[in-house]
């Protein structure tokens, strides 16, 4: 069974472990630094970059405002083109649909194109429970899967690993899942890529069933779009007999023409390339070319919850380019796994609480995993205002009906509530506070309150309460 983020510690705790791992920090810093520089160069090449962002944000706003009719349009077009459309309310339902579809084919080993959504719903484990092995074919996703590791980035899931670590994983694990790593494999990146090519080719040629996600789904035509670099996507999307694509309901773009906006933004912002080497688009089943059975599974899994949040719904414009994590000073120091989710970095800090609700300590800690510097706002191709959403979610955690508050804050509020209910106790407490005032340390409060004074000075507590002053001076007249 693959590892999952279930039971992961809250961000502050996970971040302590991550920031003290020097190898990890070095790997993450090198990777994010490289992508940032490439992206900056390629974005500077477009005099119309800000115009493209305006169009992309508006297009996604249109999709979200009319999501019901766009989804019905997709359903109709895909069905008319020979595909089957399924709807899944949550992860369990999506996993059940896919498991049933794969079982019906009788296949026990299937291939996968990297998909954040299938990671989000834990599809690999659900399939494994019924005896189906789902093999990741993207190099980075395969490194994570072979290493029984967890992803740390949405575009480059193994960015926290260096070449020596990858070589060790290949040598140790490849043989257990098919063709072993070549004898004498070194940590030279071309050699490692070649080892992956040989290992995967064997699987592509015999796979009858493939599972993918999609980057975009065109409402007007029912066309699905997958953008990738290595060709593993093309292998899965064209060599299998049955293709099952799981797509989050927010992945829609209205018209065929609108792809021109997103195709110009995605690779440039994600990896600093003008286009990723391969983009595949297909509409339903194409007789004589590619899979002759196509299933599209439309997945909610919290997206409608996020959609109902007036400030937070803009997070659903996300096209998963990963630029927000590449630019984030917090991500750069902790890497992605500290966020305890397949969506790390700034988008993870807002998307997870929006999808799941901030009701457990791990999810509720995420809106605080930010310095609010706003660099993510500047690089987002669909103009998500991360800082607005982060502040709104902090507000919801602190003031709203989220079941989780800071434990010390919760205990304090409970104690204050009890005292305020009893006037005599309240007056006594206020008098005691005046007397205790000089004894309260100015620079660091003890115990769980200490965090508050890390960056603040404790205010002076007045010797006399307002009530006492009012009484003594007869309302200030004496």
């Amino acid at each position: 069974m693959s590892r999952t983020f279930v039971g992961w510690p809250a961000f502050p705790e996970a971040a302590v472990a991550a920031t003290s791992d020097e190898q990890l920090r070095a790997n993450v810093t090198r990777a994010t630094g490289t992508i940032r520089a490439k992206r900056a160069r390629l974005v500077a090449e477009r005099p119309d970059w800000e115009d493209l962002r305006d169009s992309a944000a508006a297009l996604k706003n249109d999709v979200l405002a009319h999501l019901d009719s766009y989804l019905l349009q997709v359903e109709q077009k895909v069905t008319a083109a020979g595909g089957a459309v399924h709807w899944a309310r949550d992860a369990a339902e999506a996993n059940r649909i896919v498991t049933d579809l794969v079982r019906a084919t009788g296949e026990r080993e299937i291939v996968k194109v990297k998909s954040m959504l299938t990671e989000e719903i834990g599809l690999d484990n659900a399939l494994e429970e019924v005896g189906i092995s789902a093999r990741e074919t993207d190099l980075a996703a395969a490194i994570v899967q072979l290493g029984d590791d967890l992803p740390s980035h949405v575009v480059v899931p193994a960015l926290h690993r260096n070449r020596a670590e990858i070589r060790d994983i290949f040598v140790r694990e490849m043989g257990r899942h098919g063709r072993p790593a070549p004898e004498g494999l070194t940590d030279d990146p071309p050699q490692l890529a070649e080892a992956a090519r040989l290992h995967m080719r064997e699987k592509f040629l015999k796979a009858k069933v493939a599972v993918s996600g999609a980057n975009f789904l065109v409402a007007e035509t029912g066309t699905a779009v997958v953008v990738e670099s290595e060709g593993n996507g093309r292998m899965c999307l064209t060599l299998a007999d049955t293709l099952i694509s799981l797509v989050g309901i927010e992945k829609i773009v209205p018209r065929w023409q609108d792809l021109e906006v997103f195709l110009q933004l995605l690779a440039r912002n994600a990896t600093g390339e003008r286009m990723a080497p391969y983009t595949t688009t297909w509409t339903g089943v194409i007789p004589g070319d590619g899979p002759q059975t196509f299933h599209l599974v439309l997945v909610d899994n919290g997206r409608t919850r996020a959609l109902a949040d007036e400030v937070g719904r803009q997070a659903l414009r996300c096209i998963r380019c990963g630029a927000c994590m590449n630019i984030c000073p917090v991500y750069e120091r902790t890497g992605g796994q500290a966020y305890g989710s397949v969506y790390p970095g700034p988008i993870g800090a807002i998307l997870n609480p929006l999808l799941k609700g901030p009701d457990d300590p791990q999810t509720a800690s995420l809106p605080y995993a930010s310095s609010l510097c706003g660099a993510c706002n500047d690089v987002c191709p669909v103009r998500i205002r991360f800082t607005d959403v982060l502040l709104e979610l902090r507000h919801q955690v602190a003031e709203g009906d989220a079941k989780v508050k800071h434990p010390a804050e919760k205990a304090a509020l409970r104690a204050v509530g009890a005292v305020m209910d009893h006037p005599a106790a309240w007056n006594a407490a206020v008098r005691a506070a005046g007397k205790a005032g000089p004894l309260v340390p100015k620079n660091r409060l003890p115990g769980p309150l200490g965090g508050w004074t890390d960056s603040r000075r404790t205010p002076d507590i007045p010797k006399e309460s307002f009530r006492a002053w009012w009484k003594r001076t007869e309302g200030g007249s004496r």
Binding site: R30, A31, I35, R46, P47, D48, D51, L52, S55, A58, D62, L64, A65, H66, L67, L71, A81, H86, W87, A88, D138, L139, I143, V156, L159, N162, R163, P189, L192, A193, F204, L205, S229, E230, G231, N232, T238, L239, W256, Q257, E260, L263, Q264, R274, M275, P277, Y278, T279, T280, T281, W282, T283, I286, G288, D289, G290, T304, L307, A308, E310
Partner: protein, 212 residues
Amino acid sequence: MTSARDEILARIRAATADLPADPVEIPRSYLPHAPGIELHDREAVLALFAERLEEYGATVHRAGTADLASALAAALPAGRVVVPEGFPAAWLREWTGEAVPDHPPLPHAELDSLDAVLTTCAAGVADSGTLVLDAGPGQGRRAATLLPDLHVCVVRATQVVSSIPEVMARLDPRRPLTWISGPSATADIEMIRVPGVHGPRRLTVLLVADSS
């Protein structure tokens, strides 16, 4: 019992009840053409197309219609090459290798064992260095351009547009489209670009002038 479909649609309607029913106005002030290229400067478009493809590790040769056959003979390996239906036979007259038809469809293992695939394309995009294949005549099915290690593609100059916005209207979304921008590559290991992972490791483009 409510179906998942009805329930999701109902959740969406409830979640978006506060939003106006009118369509959102979409600004479209981005460039319709490649930055820095004059609209009618065909030579600049073709030069940019070649430059961008080469930047990503593709090999680009330019030929006239008259010397296309010899250029192809030079670009193709001597061995067995899959040539889809509809590829002009006259272009192959100087090449001495074996043209393998994909009709009936070759098994995947057979495609995998061939030395190259030779196709035409549906369009080219200069700004992004992209070829678009749509399974039309001379292009074949998608598997055929994927398994052999070398892809040789003939692009007519009239097929090349400057930008992605220009190419959209030329393409039919009902067809299976493969957009190819340089050969297969990965940057998953320490962000170092390594050419050739699962798709063809080598991409050769023959750009054919329209004149004569």
